[in-house]
Amino acid sequence: MSNFLIECRGLYKTYGLRPALSGVDLAVGPGRIVGLLGPNGSGKTTLIKLLCGLLRPTAGWLAVDGEAIGPYTKSVVSYLPDRMYFADWMRATDLFDLFRDFYADFDYEKAFAMCRSLGVEPHDRLKTMSKGTKEKVQLVLVMARTAKLYLLDEPIAGVDPAARDFILRTILTNYNEEGTVLISTHLISDVEKVLDEAIFLKQGKIMLHQTVDAIRAKENKSVDALFREIFQAGPMFDEEEGF
């Protein structure tokens, strides 16, 4: 059995002729908070969708908790998409019922407690809720699980700085510490303080995968500063040799 929670080898994904991921090799262990960092169109969402089983790789090998993607891996992955997935007729409690039925690790009481602390009324119809409240419900569904892997796709995109802190605090106070959190974002400065590892993705390729401490020690700069250097000042190293 592998010690890694996420393993990818030679992972390719193309949409038609357009490559989204090109030969991604990746291994992430348990108990980590990992930033999946890259500009728009770098392949972050594609990688997350592959991990949660919404997409099939064009080529390569991919495993979560030592298993190929399937019902088992879906049962240990808690996924926050970058969009709403609610049906209009539902209330938050309907979703809680659904999650309790399908996920053994879903904590029903915790979901209600989180709703109370986030100021969400779970018996209200979702279609009457504001966008921000719906996002909170979606966050509650994800964080009320004791999952092995949390896949959070742009959880702080499109919200004001105060809301970003609020969301990050909710994630940090509720995640399973034995599990791994993979957060995709291009807002590096907001998440940097909570990250253990950073993965830089550019044009479907991994440019860098290191611990945040190693980056700071080696480069003598913050992850945000390094990110800006790599993605704004053009290539600073040969792609063949890696970082």
Binding site: C52, R56, K74, S75, P81, M84, Y85, F86, F102
Partner: protein
């Protein structure tokens, strides 16, 4: 897991159809009551005319909503935004499709039953007298003595069910084919739906051109029992193939963008 999916899908169905089914039955009752208003004939006739129209609208609406529901539950539920939820549940794609199919069949049958009940309710006949006029015991005894009639009735029900399954699985495959394209998905789905029925007709005419197959079909359809069983097979075979392709597309070609 399939039962859990069915619970979720039937809840979605009930939220939508409880209102329309209830409205159909309520209007049928109103229509019936207006026929008993002999003491205010003019008003009664006006109300009856109105409820006739309203009931016709409800029937048409029920059919249209049933088809729309079948399309929407599949396209939005599995290939739209809700797909982000459904495809990350720890289940296999075939379970998702089967759950949607069962729910769609129940919706179709439920609408038929409600339409039938509404027609009975509308009929201006004294139910008590009607039920008393039939010797039910004798009727059941005769039915049990002649089991062939029961088998024929069961086969007829199966023919209707098979027709419904083929219709729904063709809709599912047409939508799935449309999903494979990035533009004009609805148009491609519509063309696919028509194309799939043409394909079935062509395949069967090609298969039946073989004398051996034709002889087998002739032998199987010598009586009503065999004819209906053959019809069931003719409809269920392509339906099974269509559903298998739908599951393959969901498993391998899903793209919720």
């Amino acid at each position: 897991m399939l039962l859990k999916l069915l619970k979720y899908d039937s809840r979605a169905m009930w939220k939508q159809f409880s209102l329309i089914w209830g409205a159909a039955l309520a209007l049928a009752l109103v229509h019936r009551l207006t026929h008993t208003l002999h003491f205010i004939v003019t008003l009664g006739t006006r109300i009856a005319n109105f409820t006739n129209l309203a009931l016709a609208i409800v029937f048409v609406a029920m059919f249209v909503i049933s088809v729309m529901f079948i399309i929407q539950r599949f396209s939005k539920g599995l290939l739209g935004g809700e797909g982000y939820l459904m495809h990350t549940l720890p289940v296999r794609p075939w379970q998702l499709v089967l759950s949607k199919l069962i729910c769609a069949i129940v919706t179709g049958l439920g609408s038929c039953v409600v339409a039938f009940l509404s027609a009975i309710l509308m009929y201006p006949e004294d139910f008590q007298r009607f039920f008393q006029s039939v010797n039910w015991l004798k009727l059941f005894r005769r039915l049990l003595q002649n089991l062939g009639t029961l088998v024929l009735a069961a086969e007829f029900c199966m023919v209707i069910l098979s027709f419904l399954i083929l219709f729904i699985s063709t809709i599912y495959l047409a939508i799935s084919i449309g999903h494979l394209f990035s533009h004009h998905r609805r148009l491609i789905s519509l063309v696919s739906f028509i194309g799939l029925y043409i394909l079935i007709a062509n395949i069967y005419s090609w298969v039946l051109s073989y004398k051996v197959i034709q002889a087998l079909v002739d032998a199987a359809t010598v009586n009503a029992y065999g004819s209906m069983l053959t019809d069931i097979a003719i409809m269920l075979l392509p339906a099974a193939a269509f559903l298998a392709v739908v599951c393959w597309i969901l498993e391998n070609k899903l793209n919720l963008e």
